[in-house]
Symmetry: C2
Subunit: 379 residues, 2 copies
């Protein structure tokens, strides 16, 4: 681990909310906790805050490391820290674990205060709008009226986009990376297969597996294996794994033979050991439902008519999950609304995962854009 | 059903082979049956035979329909019949169910004569080379020394290609449609997830589910759902299903909501009701292993040095499972060997499935090429 320009030791905090939250579904959560981390210092004008929203399997531990677990480095540590694109000497960065998550915030595996047992299947389906609502309450608690920027990749970027719609005057810049204004049928199809793997696992017990001391490991593993295929590009898979056989020759059996199989099983096993299956279901549904145009007669231009933020939209050439074409659709709608938009299509072999990678051009673009944001409040 | 230019009523036949077949794996099958169908008439010179090889879930019922089941139309009936591209007034067409299949030929669900119980997990892993070997024996039995053509799509086309390598003087034309000279890491990855869904289904019982009166329905269903995503294009999914919600509005639950989900579940359920899980495993492994270049130091040019056939290679623009680029790689190697090659990239929105569709340009190209083949033996 290179700690030279790390934000260093960080620690998670917990915020408790007693005001009931009504979800898009109509369900009400009477009270809940959000676990979050902050890096840097909120300036006197409270104008330098950046909210980082996480994607499907992310959480509040975005940068730095823990004193008692120095190997546990935040998932976007290459982007956030002193001297990094999101420079913690200038910005006050907030990361949280979303509602419904499994990293400390209230979610399906949390005890329902009414019963004392985990919510399980009774935890409501959460949408991107619901998350943004809960994030705004966290911002209130932190004294942040307006974010300098809200950012994230993939599902995280959808939350950033939603900020510009739900709270147009509370976000100055949206940095939307590797995302889409809504899923395609193919995207939904992949999510559906992943969900089905979990839902039909006999250890799922209708979502109440906690009571059965069971974990739907088979389903979670399959979901993650499938996910990984869509995160990588065909090219990077060919480069990393090709058709290499682990033992150098075919075994003519059904065990692991090709290196790509070994990689997928490893990723699947690792994920199934720590991630909550109900959270996985919930996150994929939030992806499926996100569709700002839907309420505006499928007109994305109309949907963004309320937005006031400035936008940086970034896509990656080999991302076939959320292809550059989808970012361009978004950019077009933003431009039709006379919004300030910067768009860059980054050449990268790493597919959708590129947004998490240390990539020179990508980081340079982020750095330059964030310097501009910093200049707005430092002057 | 349009029966106007159908070959009409057909019936399956069964051939029994008593000469042991040694597989690439070293396993020996002492005796086996192949179920097949033929259409048209073998000419006096036995020079007008076309072998049609099937893909993953195909079988011997390639064209026509059964007297007692007129709705059961062959899987390539739009291509084969009087006046159709593979014109049964000119050609003698042979279709068979491959060894390891589940439509009548000896496979994992067949009784092992040694034990009287289904082979199950003890049925050997079969390769494309093994299939071609068994197909050559069927040709011997039918008195066909040399095929005018061997054809198929996808995995079927791999068998057609293998014919030109295993029996260079027994095939005059290879018509390889929607295929690749070998799978990529991404292709293998999808197969691996599908196999894992089956292998980890508690009803799989290590492949001996027959004895447990069980069927790994959950695994088969997931495998087929995933397969269907890769057979279709993003475009055709968007056109056919888009983001349409079955009930017109979100239900905020984990049931079927989007039309694409309904389609996938229907396809999954239908498939799981009739297809054998061990056959599915075996077919996907045959796909993974197919790699003529492997034995030639990864040099595809060298691999095709033995080939003598003429080639028609067809790909489809939106096929992302076996993209046109992969066909072009194949074409290049064939040309490097000074072989006669015709190549056409067909504009189609239907992805990999295009090879099964009624498509004017595609059928015109097939028709023209097959007329040329017919002219060689009719003159």
């Amino acid at each position: 681990m290179n700690t030279s320009n790390s934000i260093g030791i960080v620690s998670a905090q917990r915020a408790h909310f007693d005001t009931p939250l009504t979800f898009q579904s109509g369900a009400v959560l009477p009270r809940y906790d959000l676990v979050y981390e902050t890096y840097g210092t909120l300036n006197a004008g409270k104008s330098n805050a950046i909210l980082v929203c996480h994607a499907l399997s992310g959480h509040h531990h975005v940068a730095g490391y823990y004193a008692d677990d120095p190997k546990n480095v935040g998932w976007w540590d290459n982007m956030i820290g002193p001297g990094k694109p999101i420079d913690t000497r200038k910005f006050f960065v907030v990361g949280l674990n979303n509602l419904g998550g499994c990293h400390g915030s209230t979610g399906p595996s949390s005890p329902d205060p009414e019963t004392g047992k985990p919510y399980g299947a009774s935890f409501p389906v959460v949408t991107v709008e619901d998350w943004v609502e809960s994030q705004a309450r966290l911002a209130d608690m932190l004294g942040i009226r307006q974010f300098a920027a809200v950012t994230g990749g993939s599902l995280g970027a959808m939350q950033a986009l939603q900020w510009s719609l739900s709270f147009p005057d509370r976000v100055r810049h949206v940095l939307a990376i590797a995302t889409a204004p809504r899923l395609t049928a193919e995207n939904i199809a992949f999510n559906d297969v992943a969900r089905n793997a979990i839902l039909t696992d006999p250890d799922f017990h209708g979502g109440n597996y906690y009571e059965h001391s069971a974990v739907p490991v088979r389903g979670l593993r399959l979901a993650r294996m499938l996910g990984h295929i869509t995160y990588l590009s065909d090219d990077v898979m060919a480069d990393k794994f090709g058709r290499e056989l682990l033992s150098g020759k075919p075994n003519y059996g059904y065990g692991i033979e090709f290196e790509i199989e070994s990689y997928l099983r490893y990723q699947g096993d690792k994920f199934a050991a720590y991630f909550d299956a109900n959270t996985y279901l919930l996150m994929t549904k939030a992806l499926d439902y996100f569709d700002p145009a839907r309420k505006c007669g499928d007109d994305l231009d109309k949907a963004f008519a309320v937005a006031r933020a400035n936008f940086l939209v970034l896509s990656f050439t080999t991302d076939w999950r959320f292809s550059p074409e989808r970012s361009r659709t978004l950019v077009k709608s933003l431009l039709h609304n006379h919004l300030n938009v910067s768009y860059c299509e980054i050449t990268s072999t790493h597919g959708h995962d590129s947004f998490l990678m240390q990539h020179t051009h990508y980081h340079e673009v982020m750095h330059a854009y964030l310097e501009r944001i910093a200049s707005e409040f430092s002057e």
